[in-house]
Amino acid sequence: MNVSTIDILSVDNKKLEDISKEYLLSLNLREMLAVKDYFSKKGRNPTDVELETIAQTWSEHCKHKTLMGLIEYSDKNGTMEIDNLLKQTVMKVTRELKKDWCLSVFKDNAGVISFDERFAIAFKVETHNHPSALEPYGGAGTGIGGVIRDVLGVGLGAKPIFNTDIFCFGPFDYPFEELPEGVLHPKRICKGVVAGVRDYGNRMGIPTVNGSVFFDEGYIYNPLVYCGTAGIMPRHMTEKKVEAGDLIVSVGGRTGRDGIHGATFSSLTLDKDTEVSAVQIGNPITEKKVTDTVLAARDKGLYRAITDCGAGGFSSAVGELGQDCGARVDLEKAPLKYEGLAPWEIWVSEAQERMVLAVPKEKIDDLLGVFSAEDVSATVIGEFTADRVLDIRYEGATVGRLDMDFLHHGVPGIRRKAVWKESRKKGKEKKIEANIAEDLKKILSSPNVCSKEWIIRQYDHEVQGGTVLKPLQGILNDGPGDACVIKPLFDSDKGIVISNGINPLYGTKDPYWMAASAIDEALRNIVCAGGNLEKTALLDNFCWGDPAKPAQLAGIVRAARACYDMAKVYGTPFISGKDSLNNEYVNAEGERASIPPTLLISGICIIPDIKKTVSMDLKKPGNAVYVLGGKKNELGGSHYYLLHGMTGGTVPQVEPKRAKKLMGALGRTIEAGLVKSCHDCSEGGIAVAASEMAFSGGLGMEIDLRLVPCESKGEADDAMLLFSESNSRFIVEIEENNTKEFEKVMAGNVFSRIGRTAKNETLRVLGKDGSEIIKESIYILKGCWQKTMKW
């Protein structure tokens, strides 16, 4: 039999570390010593199966060792100890907010919130970065496939109803000559990733409805691919419970050698010799069949628990389900793609499209019947036991035997240092030769602002027939929507609003304000479409460099704190999250480098009536245009500064108390039907938001910068008023006869009427001195916005 015993009892520390490297375990010395200690008490050496099981279960990917460990954080105010950062921030705020509509948070495969008396909604966002760097198509496809299975494996299983996707790539026009060997060109990665998400999502019949793309040189070696899925499930099916004696059933795809070491691989630094067996190729047709049959079995009540085979394969899935009881697995029973797999390979393979069920013995025949009727493979591979031991066998012989307690609680806590130093570097600032109209066109064409229609059109965002407010809006269906609205049930007008916020440009300055801005942006988008903060939940996805570097870890601490501070005031709980650390690479100069710190915030909101949602395109000439929220001199990290090569300035901050009040008032005016269109000011400030509203609606707009509320001291120039990306601001369109009512509801907030919509198809802006600084056809502006990504 192809099982080896590895001698760790008689070797020294140096050799222990070598073993960890040789077997790609990604376990550090302290962890290896804990393993040694465990086995010396047992009086024997571990098998490869056992070492692999421990490595997978203890991996950063599965255990979040760093963020749940001990962190010694110091900044200019002194040093403090943080025990379990996640519990102290994102999880704490959810506990404190006590929202009764949060049904299952931070414990299952996805966060679950209440939809109505009958149904609940599950939402999860994952990353699939390293595989996508090596094989963009397969990596992104299996990324979306994996998160779909997360949702299918939450509680007793939810039916997937929409996908989201957010990407960060290197610049798509990066010169080939400068690209190091073994690194795929950013444009190729971008196209491959989009095709992967498209083919998987479309073939599964799930609409991809929300996303964004961010291009920056920091992602050339290590792109970020975030994939999210939401599902709907009956309310009484949000919990699972395995009982001793239940059979372990593997459903779906066969097991092969693909994707071995995915979980531990995600904790490694990418270099040009990175192991290739970590790449998986997905098969959406299999996953579609698995989804349909699992849901049929769920509705018949044929199983007691379900989870997906994600990172770590069977070892993680069975290990997790059997955590509180125990399990016996007969590996030879697992259906294989081909012969010749060693037991440990079967056990940790991350072959796609597999789910694991816990099935009561008396229901096994019915269950197998449901799957065989649809030609989906379902096989009993073991049984859950009561002895709290994980017993792994191959052809009758024990190849691994581990105590569940040790496996799940034996990992030694990590203690890490985090040191925050405020950047003293006074970035580059210079006097900018103002050419406002030209600058606006350039910003509209810039990669991070321009139209992403080329990508969006490849995704089916209509399938399942519930997409009410679509990603592309306006008279020609090509304007950039803020958020998407889904109506999941045919017999109810209740809806779901989905949005995201991400802005790594601020992260290199201060992750605290980056996180705050991302949360504000996600919430702004929700409110724009007609959502309200009362019923909004958030998801966090941290992508960072090596947490062993004190500066990197300090950034995470600051971002997590912002999550707590902001969510607490906004009253929006976090329901699920994920971290992908070690996004590092060896660059062309041979140095280790980190990606820009990147936090994605996804927002989800349940609304009572989809008929009261609003799109972002102007609707009628002669309407009043208001800007809501005060403007500050916060050009740091803005696209205007980027355009002019400036790295200084203050990044936008957030005042959540005022913002919450403003968003609440705006929400009431939208609900009352007073608002004709609404768009948030984000990348490119008022100038870009106004242009987008105008050209999406096919109407002109006239605004006067003298009327824009400004809160900074000193001179505000035209450029600052137009391009500063201060948070918590909106532009809204109000019919003339509703302006009084609108102003009444908004009273007590900073807002101002700045102009009106016009029939003339021109964007006209008056500057501080009353002169005309922009007079441009909306079609020319639209052309600038569309030309960049006409691939």
């Binding site: 090596l134 080939f176 444009k187 196209k191 290739v276 190729i281 098969n283 081909y338 691939w791």
Partner: protein, 149 residues
Amino acid sequence: MIYTIEVGYKDALNDASGMSTKKDIEDLGIYSVRQVRASQLYIIEGEIEEDKILSVCRELLSDPVIQYFKINESSGKGSLKADVYYKKGVTDAVGESVKIGIRDMGIDGVESVRTGARYEITGRLSGRIVRSICERLLANKVVQEYKII
């Protein structure tokens, strides 16, 4: 018996995949390509008679209105062809589906189905340029291999 089957769009029709590949080649800084035609390859191995393969091609692999198919022939002069396949051991989802599809037609004897893509490239080209196109664009050597004919 091994059958190599090529399925592509008929000449008069838009070949979207070929045209976007041509654009991608231009993005590499190579402007000497006049046309790219992309087609799908299926390598079917097993004990199957030729007339059965013919019906597999007609009924399963091609759409007779817009597509042509060729069995075991590689024609087309004046162009270079790059065939790209998944490496052995990499999941070939389309291949697996074809295998099931043939079985569902009531035809037994299929041992394996591999799929690939064929790019027929015309223009002022050398083998060296086509190799560079393969390596930089068409085949990802992590999971794929290519052959130039």
